[in-house]
């Protein structure tokens, strides 16, 4: 994971940049995008003006001055949280970009080859890349096959195969050809490659508010208006009470005090952190090497409740593996296994290798025994569907050992006047029915037995699906296998549903059906024929190894091309929404304590007896030192809590897969109850500190 290098939460350079940016963001045109913080900004200006006018009229108020300072800090802290999130996104993107060096390209003009800078390449140009060349830009392989090192963008060191035609034809600029020679047709203009565009998105240059963010902003603005009403009407109530207490109306509440109360009540915590939470959601995906084309997509990921998962690579290991030997009557299993191993030595396919491994694991047979004999290997070909070996012993008799599909072996033994035993026929049919692939081993005209090849379900995947179920997410396995095979694997892996013999059209139809029933569907795909389904799905993750069409159709790209990524993406989406909800709850719950700090402080003189202490001081449950220190403590707490919660906004709340009810319970305890209690403690501590210095 090469992009992980810059993810330490705060480094000094980032902090300095963010600090500078928080001042630049004081520009009212920027600030107004965040109505809650904009309101604080106006309050800061008004309070500052009050302080200045006090300065000129000769009654400078140090209290007002301190309020003004902390109000400005509130705005700056909110700006800072956004700036640091953006900075981390940029750093992340930078590290992606850095790997893409300024390369030279070998452009093909007619039959002539010319060397140009990669920057000069235009869409439609054809370039040659050979072993050792860096691919100059995004493109499609139009001729040849090559292994390509994509570690520059994916961090994965194992090279991947790229070939013309089919689903593995897309290549990415900045990756390196390590074998063979390919012709690449360039598919993007310079600076506008697929990755370039996605990086731009991540950097926040084109960041737009997501639907949920808009709804939340409306809620926060609405609450702010309600609190604004509560605060602007306060001088009237206060004035009435002053008159009733026989106090002069000149003792009415001052503008700085009213603004302090307003700022404490409006949801500045979530208001200040909202965009940081959104940006860092995309950022967390990037750390997992997934690039989302929009914040909207990340949000939708949290809502997905049906996942379409390809069997191969996601649920099972890539290839089928030998799991058991079934010898014919009268054949010892060890002999049969030995023969199977011999016949598979020349079979370089993963299936073939798995037979060698199984024989070795079960009976300790080792391939090197073969070198002592006189052996001629018959490699596996698509035509014969068999592999094997001819062994000549000292007497000159030749043993022909073969392994292959039932049809191939039947004709092989029948050619030597042998026969395919009825019992073995039945076994072959039975294994096929159970979803396994039977391969038959024969020596000369005798069938020795059957090797069972099966899909191996990935370790831990069953638990994963169980977790998803508790989260309310249904998993559907997609496979080209027949229904029986599919059912067997589905049962073993614990998926909720499966689609057998699925064509791309089936997938698309299934997605539409699920959506019509109100579900949100996530899928991951790579092929061109996956593109319609990827586009239709609510979350379509294209593997980076896939075709350009697939990548354009999806709303996320997985640079690692790892199909289990879908599950992680869903978790990031959920965590993002949870963080937003938790901090909103926290922010609103905070207000209770602030009222208990400020109302008794401002109303102390009302209806007071001779001691000057009015009845409302009974509400001063925190026993704050003085009226001024109480108000100041509330304002300071309000500002500090923003900066203290920045790490939480960036990292997201702790997330474990669990049911909605448990998640709610846990978050309510921490952020709801905690949100009520924390400010009582915090304000008290700040008040004690202030009074120490007063």
């Amino acid at each position: 994971m090469s992009t992980k290098q810059n993810t330490s939460l705060f480094n000094q350079k980032l902090l300095v940049q963010a600090a500078i940016a928080s001042f630049i963001k004081l520009n009212p045109l920027t600030l107004i995008k965040n109505p809650v913080i904009f309101m604080v900004g106006i309050g800061s200006v008004l309070t500052t003006l009050t302080v200045i006018s006090g300065l000129f009229s000769g009654n400078f108020s140090s209290f007002n001055f301190q309020i003004a300072i902390w109000l400005w800090f509130t705005v700056l802290f909110a700006n800072f949280s956004e700036a640091i999130a953006e900075g981390r996104g940029k750093a992340q993107a930078e590290s992606l970009r850095k790997n893409r060096t300024q390369t030279l390209a070998r452009r093909l003009v007619g039959n002539r080859e010319e060397t140009v800078s990669a920057l000069e390449l235009r869409k439609g140009d054809v370039v040659i890349c050979e072993a050792g060349d860096v691919i100059p830009s995004d493109g499609e392989v139009v001729e040849g096959i090559a292994s390509v090192d994509e570690s520059a963008i994916t961090g994965e060191s194992a090279p991947v195969i790229r070939e013309s035609g089919g689903d593995r034809s897309a290549v990415t600029g900045g990756t390196k050809v390590i074998s063979d020679r390919i012709l690449i047709k360039i598919t993007s203009e310079p600076g506008d490659t697929f990755i370039d565009r996605m990086i731009a998105l991540v950097e926040g240059a084109k960041r737009q508010k997501t639907p949920n963010e808009i709804a939340l902003s409306i809620l926060l603005s609405g609450l702010s208006i309600i609190f604004l009403l509560a605060v602007v009407t306060l001088p009237a109530y206060f004035g009435y009470s002053l008159t009733a207490s026989g106090l002069p109306s000149s003792q009415n509440l001052t503008i700085p005090v009213l603004i302090a109360l307003l700022v404490c009540l409006i949801p500045t915590t979530i208001g200040g952190l909202l965009s940081a939470i959104g940006i860092s959601g995309m950022d967390r995906l990037l750390q997992r090497n997934v690039i989302a084309t929009s914040g909207r997509a990340v949000e939708a990921a949290g809502d997905v409740d049906v996942l379409l998962l390809d069997k191969t690579g996601t649920i099972t290991l890539g290839n089928r593996m030998a799991t058991e030997f079934f010898p014919s009557d009268g054949v010892r299993i060890a002999d049969m296994a030995h023969a199977a191993q011999l016949a598979s030595l020349s079979d370089e396919t993963p299936e073939g290798r798995s037979i060698v491994v199984l024989a070795k694991a079960k009976f300790g047979w080792r391939g090197h025994d073969i070198h002592q004999r006189n052996a001629v290997f018959i490699p596996f070909t698509a035509q014969t569907k068999m592999s094997g070996v001819d062994l000549t012993d000292v007497k000159g008799t030749v043993r022909q050992i073969r392994k292959g599909s039932a049809e191939a072996i039947r004709s092989f033994v029948q050619n030597s006047n042998g026969f395919f035993p009825k019992k073995m026929e039945e076994k072959v049919a039975e294994l096929a029915r159970m979803g396994a692939t039977p391969l038959v081993v024969a020596e000369d005209n005798q069938v020795l037995g059957i090797i069972q090849l099966k899909d191996i379900v990935k370790g831990g995947i069953k638990q994963r699906f169980a977790q998803l179920r508790t989260m309310g997410i249904r998993t559907v396995m997609i496979t080209g296998d027949n229904a029986l095979t599919a059912a067997a694997i589905a049962a073993e892996a614990g998926v909720d549903d499966f689609m057998a013999e699925a064509t791309p059209e089936d997938k698309l139809r299934r997605i539409r059906e699920e959506q019509a029933n109100g579900h949100l569907v996530g899928m991951i795909g790579d092929g061109t024929n996956d593109a319609p389904a990827l586009a239709q799905a609510d979350i379509g993750i294209a593997m980076n190894s896939g075709t350009q069409a697939a990548r354009e159709a999806g709303n996320m790209v997985d640079l690692d091309s790892n199909p289990t990524k879908l599950i992680e993406v869903v978790e990031v989406g959920k965590q993002l929404l949870m963080t937003r909800g938790a901090l909103t709850t926290f922010s609103i719950a905070n207000d209770v304590a602030k009222y208990f700090a400020i109302i008794p402080a401002i109303a102390i003189s009302l209806y007071a007896g001779k001691d000057g202490i009015g009845p409302l001081s009974a509400l001063n449950v925190m026993h704050l030192g003085s009226s001024e220190s109480a108000i100041l403590s509330a304002v300071i707490f309000n500002a500090l809590v923003i900066i203290l919660l920045v790490p939480l906004a960036l990292k997201g709340v702790r997330y474990k897969p669990m049911s909605a009810n448990n998640a709610l319970m846990q978050n309510l305890l921490i952020y709801g109850l905690g949100g009520i209690i924390a400010p009582f403690v915090g304000i008290k501590i700040i008040d004690v500190v202030i009074n120490l210095f007063a």
Binding site: I218, L265, T585, G609, A660, N667
Partner: protein, 563 residues
Amino acid sequence: MENLEVLQVILFFAFLIGLTPLLGNYMSKVFSGEKHLLLPVFGWSEKLIYKVASVNPDEETNWKTYTFSLLIFNALGLVMVFSLQLIQSVLPLNPAQLSNVSWHSALNTAISFMTNTNWQGYSGETTLSYFVQMIGLTVQNFVSAATGIAVLLVLIKGISRRSSATLGNFWVDLTRSTLYVLLPLSIVFSIVLVGQGVVQNLNIYETAQTLQGAEQVIPMGPAASQIAIKQLGTNGGGFFNANSAHPFENPTPFSNFLEMLAILLVPAALTYTYGKMVGSVRQGWTIFSVMLILLLVGLGISLYAEYATNPVFGQLSSMEGKETRFGITNSVLWSTSTTAASNGSVNAMHDSLSPLSGMVAMINIVLGEVIFGGVGAGLYGMIIFVILTVFIAGLMVGRSPEYLGKRVEAFEVQMAILAVLAPSMVILLFTALASVTNAGVSSLNNAGPHGFSEIFYAYSSAAGNNGSAFAGLNANTTFYNLTLGLGMLIGRFGVIIPVLAIAGNMAGKKITPASAGTFHTDNWLFAGLLIATILIVGGLTFFPALSFGPIIEHLLMNKGITF
């Protein structure tokens, strides 16, 4: 409290809980157009009404047309009640020969009855003729309650329908709720009330000789028929000025019990209807539980405050402003129910309640009249809070918020906030205006925080469409008649229109099936959350105002200072 009083409170809630599913189930049948008990009895008249009014009952409209019909209908009601009062001296059935009502009082009363507030700046027996009471006010008592039910029905359809553009027909909803629910209940109830001694005649006022030899005029009138719907339709506008403290309106302990039950009956039963119609009775019971808990907490505080030893007089419990016939428990049970349910009828003077129980009455109102609340109105107001709760807390389960499978998005949040904002704005701004202007303060009979409470209560009562008065405030002035009238309008339609808009928008959405990942809205956890949201949103908005009114008054009372 004596044992019998405790028993009576228990009986009261037992009846309330028992009747909720019975009436609720019946109403759900009526409103979904299924076969029901009274269809054979009144079915013909429903058809006749549609025929006369040339309404096609099968024709459904979208929310905008629905809103338009509702507003037009209510506006006509307003004009009607307003004009009747202005010309009542030439109208029949005016044995007391009452003169025409002043334009601002008439306007206030017209708005008041049309909006189901039933705030009364006038006193019935000396202001309005029998004709105006019957044709003007009683009609509005029915249709304003039916309007509330209609709005609720639209919201139910918006939530439960899948991708639908239409939401029913206003005229059908109005007719059915009047004909099959409010009218039969009222007929039965008024007959029982007459049996208990409530007057029901068109006689001229009687003149009696008191024991001291003085002459006393005893007002008469068709009271029982109006009182039945006044209680059942959460209207609350008394036939007589003393409302249900008057012996002709509420003569016996039994009538008192029934009238109290009638306050909460329909709003409570509607929660069951709601659950039934959205497809999960549990949803209805959860909301019912939230309402009941809030009511019981308020009742507990009020009872405690009324029975507590008054530090000024040193006497146990205070009977000032209460009917000796009913005593403290029945007065407090009534005052809590009537403010919770947006009814506004009284059997004791709220002005004389101790500061804390006065505050409970205020809180019941300013929380948005959602603790059972007005007929229909309480529940749709509660669902606004449900939507806000779902939106804030729903995020914490890691999904975009949804309620009963419907996404809660920007539009719903915007409308929900508007619905919360409209009455809050009325209360906060008008209270501020009245407490600093001479026009406002000069109407006060009490000084200090108690005077402030009187103003605050008046505007809360108007904005919450409650209609009860703290009294002690002469509200029959041009200033109060107009500001309170405006407050009632904003408090009513500032909520109704956003609710209808939410319904219209939600109807068009798909329904996501529930799963383990869904935020559940039918369990105790959610009930707790909903209570917290209501208390925090309401509390934060009104805490300063309450501090300067009842809280300060309570604290001062403990120091021996009263106002």
